[in-house]
Symmetry: D2
Subunit: 148 residues, 4 copies
């Protein structure tokens, strides 16, 4: 990935949510930088906040709708590391909303510096059987309005 | 804590279980050493293996007995750090088995070097209400035989 | 611990810092509650923010002063669990500032509900040797003003 | 991904390393399954053990060769979840060894069940500058013999 050409999700279009988080000791490793798996945590925090902004909380999703979102696919490219005390920003955009899945583009930035970017596909599954299940009409309609 | 005087749990008495784990990048932080909260993970892995050795798996405990063990109290002293690639050993001993709680002494060692030690109190709770619940007579009897 | 009698650090006295954090999937475990070791992460985030409020960043501490704070001792009591989507608040108070160590009282609250509380002792060590080292006079003076 | 058609790395060819790990509470989340980011931890443990088998330890790599391996790119597909108490096996195979990078295929299995698979590209960087750096001739020769 060319770190000088960040994804279009930074372009300020509507429908792009931002979420910031501070890097603490827990996030770093003995290489002195953020451990690579942790960006998946930040990306999930950001998706959860995107969902909350649509009025949907994960816990009620699970308890009321018997629905969980599980990640099916991640393609992530790392270009620059973050370090202790940095404040990074996660940009999140829905690229495709299906009846049982959502494709997100997400990017972590340190100010103007692109750290990493990912395409993440999540699927709706039944909370107990974990089988794929279409979103309820109500939930689908709610999410369709997101980013408009 | 005086690192030259490790706890009695190293003394080779019966009833002391050992569990070894390797230190990976995920375990370390930007200080170059194992992040302090991670020892609580190793201690729980060791308690889980102690329990498994008594024939009890956490998942069946939850599903068959509607029982979870939750940690009520931890007192931990850190004396020396572990680092990337180290193999550390956790020594685990039951100090007190109650009807609804267990007190463990646990110690992390790097060969002869004491890294940290803890007294950990876990309580049995109902898996759904999370209210304290006595161990079933069967489970209590099983655990009473441990370490004898 | 009696959850109805939280520590004095909630009493609104000066010198008590608050830090809030949201509970995400990464924080929870298959018991449906926050994994016990994670509270040590939240407590460290809160101590780091306390330090930042005194004008001291961990990274500059390490790079400029060759100093790390390492945890020497934790005594933590858990009373109630937090769950997915909760926003918890960490209260942090310095109980004792020594020449090479700091004792903190910290408490995690879910609104009015006390979740857990800890006494945490951190020591200043040299960043490379990890040997105990007194705080520089400048740093000591800075921290002495905290909470006044 | 079609879980019934696992990657070729299971086919028992030479050059495929296996690494097993137990799932503990720390690995799971409130959905009752292993948290998706944690598979990247298991994959790194497995790559580290692959490297160790070639006689190379990460810590000496950093201290002797001033070299770190950092992850540049991950493409991971999740098909089935693992749960508490499961023992999963990670299969690791080098697909391409470059002068400054290595491409791995990795797969997590629960017995015969494919859980997830990933293509992971790691790059060698200088331990301090984090700039890409070719592997030393000695290290390159060592790794070339791996899997032969």
């Amino acid at each position: 990935m060319d770190a000088t050409k960040p994804m279009t999700i930074q372009s300020g279009k509507s429908g792009i949510e931002t979420f910031s988080c501070r890097i603490y000791y827990e996030d770093t490793d003995a290489g002195g930088i953020v451990y690579y798996a942790n960006y998946l945590k930040y990306f999930e925090r950001a998706r959860t906040e995107w969902l909350r902004k649509q009025g949907v909380e994960q816990r009620s999703l699970q308890q009321t709708f018997n629905c969980l979102f599980v990640v099916r696919d991640v393609a992530i490219q790392y270009s620059k590391p973050a370090r202790l005390d940095d404040v990074i920003t996660i940009y999140t955009q829905v690229k495709k909303l299906g009846r049982a899945s959502i494709v997100f583009h997400q990017q972590a930035m340190l100010k103007e510096l692109a750290l990493c970017q990912a395409k993440v596909t999540v699927c709706a599954v039944h909370a107990h059987t974990l089988r794929p299940t279409p979103l309820s009409a109500e939930l689908y309609a709610t999410l369709q309005h997101a980013g408009k």
